[in-house]
């Protein structure tokens, strides 16, 4: 299939793997963080680690929209869904995320009207089709999804739709990367930059990572060859003593980003003073809320939400996994108490979560299998 198979070509993968192996300095170990959960998913789904030498470790980062939603916000959304006449809409990934009182799926089984949509525009369509109901869209995600929420709200206002609102949980990626760089317990050699976020914000905003923290960053696409190529580019930079922001995903990302998308976000949303991230705690200026002007569409103002902070379960080490300090299987409850069927933490829920990706795709004794099947 065109535009897909070209980026999954095993012959090119082998060529890149040879380049990567040749650029590894003997005796040196490398840790590269892929910031984005989409990358984590690609890495496991295509078995990319089979192409990397043991000296290279890919550390999974915080860029999984579902994973960073704190339990209290899930409870707030369920509270909204329980109000008379409400249809709560969300992306499919959110349905299984555990809050303090179960997940949306549980709430649905108990009678709440919670529906999955593929886009906020579908939620708006639902509102138009059900004028007697109040349709709320639970907006999650980084700068990637924020423009579509913003544009949907601009549409809703222009059309005068009065039964549609947004429960805004959009977050921004840069403060999270900064929090990780400030954390003393992690040593990284470079970053695979988030491709989708960069289609919106461009490459320029990552300059502080190279300038202040001295770590190279390569913005990468989401096909398996993109990931290998980005790793090769990081090694090339390290080998040549460079430390730059580089764009591997040139077919989608420009240096300055998408001005119109950024403008849509800033017209509709503003930074919150602080926001709680699951496992990472409160981070200043790390999330978006609707501007006063859009109060009539703001579910946080229209509904009295409890807004209670719910502490993560004691056993859950999602925070450590999100920061890349722990590998998924190093979490105490991984795979036994916490599984995709009965997740304790968010990282085990989303297909972009590091724990779910490892559990679903990588949970096998690689060396033993390779030995058995090549014999």
């Amino acid at each position: 299939m065109r535009f897909v198979d070209e980026f999954r070509d095993p012959a090119m993968a082998r060529a890149l793997a040879r380049e990567i192996a040749a650029r590894v300095v003997p005796g040196r170990r490398y840790a590269f963080m892929e910031v984005c959960g989409g990358h984590t998913h690609t890495i496991y789904k295509h078995g990319i680690e089979d192409y990397l030498p043991p000296a290279i470790t890919l550390v999974h980062g915080p860029g999984c929209p579902v994973c960073v939603i704190p339990m209290g916000r899930v409870d707030d959304a369920m509270h909204i869904a329980a109000q008379p006449g409400v249809i709560l809409t969300c992306f499919g990934d959110m349905l299984r995320v555990p809050g303090g009182h179960g997940s949306f799926l549980d709430a649905k089984a108990q009678g709440a009207d919670i529906r999955m949509v593929y886009s906020p525009l579908d939620a708006l369509k639902l509102a138009r089709g059900h004028p007697d109901r109040r349709v709320v869209f639970m907006a999650i995600g980084f700068e990637t999804t924020a423009p579509s929420t913003a544009l949907t709200l601009l549409h809703a206002r222009a059309e005068g739709v009065t039964n549609f609102s947004v429960f805004c949980n959009h977050v921004t990626i840069l403060p999270a990367i900064k929090a990780i760089l400030d954390s003393p317990d992690l040593r990284l050699d470079g970053f695979l930059g988030p491709g989708h976020v960069s289609t919106v914000i461009g490459c320029e905003p990552y300059r502080f990572i190279t300038q202040r923290f001295g770590k190279p960053l390569v913005v990468a696409g989401f096909e398996p060859l993109d990931i290998l190529h980005a790793v090769a580019l990081l090694l090339r930079q390290l080998g040549e003593g460079r430390c730059e922001v580089e764009n591997q995903y040139g077919r989608a990302v420009t240096w300055s980003g998408n001005g119109r998308a950024v403008e849509a976000i800033t017209r509709v949303m503003e930074l919150r003073p602080h926001f709680e991230w699951r496992g990472l705690g409160f981070i200043a200026h790390s999330a978006l809320r609707l501007r006063e002007e859009f109060a009539a569409f703001d579910a946080e103002r229209l509904f009295e939400i409890p807004g209670v902070r719910v502490a993560d379960p004691k056993a859950c080490q999602c925070g450590e996994v999100l920061k890349g300090v722990l590998r998924p299987w190093e979490c105490k409850v991984f795979g036994t108490a916490c599984t995709p069927e009965t997740p304790i933490g968010t990282c085990m829920v989303s297909s972009e979560g590091a724990c779910a990706a490892y559990y679903n795709y990588g949970r096998f004794q690689r060396q033993r299998v390779m030995a058995a099947h090549s014999a």
Binding site: L105, Y361, R363
Partner: protein, 357 residues
């Protein structure tokens, strides 16, 4: 043993324990054919009914009655929409049950048909459904000989649900079953996968996607099974890849026989339109339902004649060998990706496509 290996061993032990049903209420996941369905069936129904024939968890029970071996099965259909490109709930209800008999090596004979119809449902639609059922049974040489009708108030059903049961005769001296699969066997599929599931999803119209060339693959597989068993005595297990798709079937086989199944992604036949829709929606075609395709596990020595027999038949056009059974890793299905990496193919937890059959 490394720390990671210890964790993997611990998880493998945890997964071998009998599943416990923790939920207080049924969710859509319990009907999806994945892990939640398996847990519901094993922890609730098997526990309540406690029967060794049921505990085999095959698509049909094979019963010894005098000198005859009788296959017996039942299936309920709740597909939405009721009519879709390539068929309707009536075709599915007959072919689905016929296929559950066929994959037990049984020639289908008799069917029952039960209808739960919602008040206000159009008689013309019910007539179309019945006509489709009659035609499908006729084509397979089976007869619908008993039935039942119930009507529920408006709003208490969704148009029409159909349940069928069927009996067939196992005429050959074969015992097919997942537990008989062993290392060295070959894994085949009888044609391109995922047509039915994607057809239904697109027919619902809420995705603004269209594929002009795509039809449900609903068909009765008995003529294909009949030909296959004639030339390939080494066939060990047949399963029609309905809800949960090929991936779910292979997992059931790996678990039942405690073998490792290794699938070559590049060898799995998938139409471009199905692959395209799956790429867009983030769904793996291995999990998408078919209604006229089966997975065949056959002794490696019989793989060639089996594949040839499938390919000769109109119902087996596009059949392919997609994988091999080995000893490692026991109870798991692995995929060699087209890209050249290796990963697990596990049972699904959630449900990307509810009510496809």
């Amino acid at each position: 043993m490394s720390a990671e290996q210890e964790v993997l061993e611990r998880i493998a032990r945890a997964r071998r324990r009998a599943p416990r049903l923790r939920e207080e209420r049924i969710t859509m996941a319990h009907g999806a054919g994945g892990k939640a369905t398996q847990t519901l069936v094993e922890a609730l129904f098997l526990e309540a009914f406690r029967d060794p024939l049921l505990a085999r968890l095959e698509d049909q029970a094979v019963l010894g009655l005098g000198a005859q071996r009788l296959a017996f099965t039942t299936d309920a259909f709740v597909v939405s929409p009721l009519f879709f490109p390539g068929g309707c709930i009536g075709d599915l209800a007959v072919n689905g049950t016929l296929n559950d008999l066929a994959v037990g090596g049984a020639r289908p004979q008799f069917l029952s048909a039960s209808f739960i119809v919602e008040e206000g449902f159009a008689v013309a639609d019910l007539r179309r459904i019945a006509a489709a059922m009659a035609a499908a049974a006729d084509a397979a040489g089976a007869r619908i000989v008993t039935g039942d009708t119930k009507v529920v108030q408006r709003g208490k059903g969704d148009g029409c649900y159909v349940t069928t049961a069927g009996v067939g005769l196992v005429e050959r001296d074969v015992t097919l079953g997942a537990a008989t699969v062993r290392s060295g066997d070959a894994v085949l599929v009888s044609g391109p996968i995922g047509d039915h599931g994607i057809t239904i999803m697109l027919a619902r119209g809420d995705l603004d996607l269209a594929a002009d060339d795509l039809l449900s693959d609903t068909a009765c597989l008995w003529p294909l099974v009949d030909d296959l068993l004639e030339v390939a005595p080494g066939v060990r297990c047949l399963r029609d890849a309905t809800r949960g798709g090929v991936a779910t079937i292979l997992n059931e086989i790996a678990t039942a026989a405690q073998v490792g199944v290794v699938v070559e992604e590049g060898a799995v036949p998938v139409r471009d339109s199905v692959r395209g829709a799956c790429e867009l929606l983030g769904i793996d075609p291995l999990y998408v339902a078919c209604e006229g395709r089966m997975v065949v596990v056959v002794d490696g020595a019989d793989a060639e004649p089996a594949l040839a027999a499938l390919s000769r038949h109109a119902l087996g056009r596009g059949a392919a060998r997609i994988g091999t059974v080995g000893d490692e890793p026991p109870g798991l299905v692995l995929l060699r990706t087209q890209f050249g990496g290796t990963r697990i193919v596990d049972l699904l937890v959630g449900d990307p496509l509810p009510r496809i059959c």
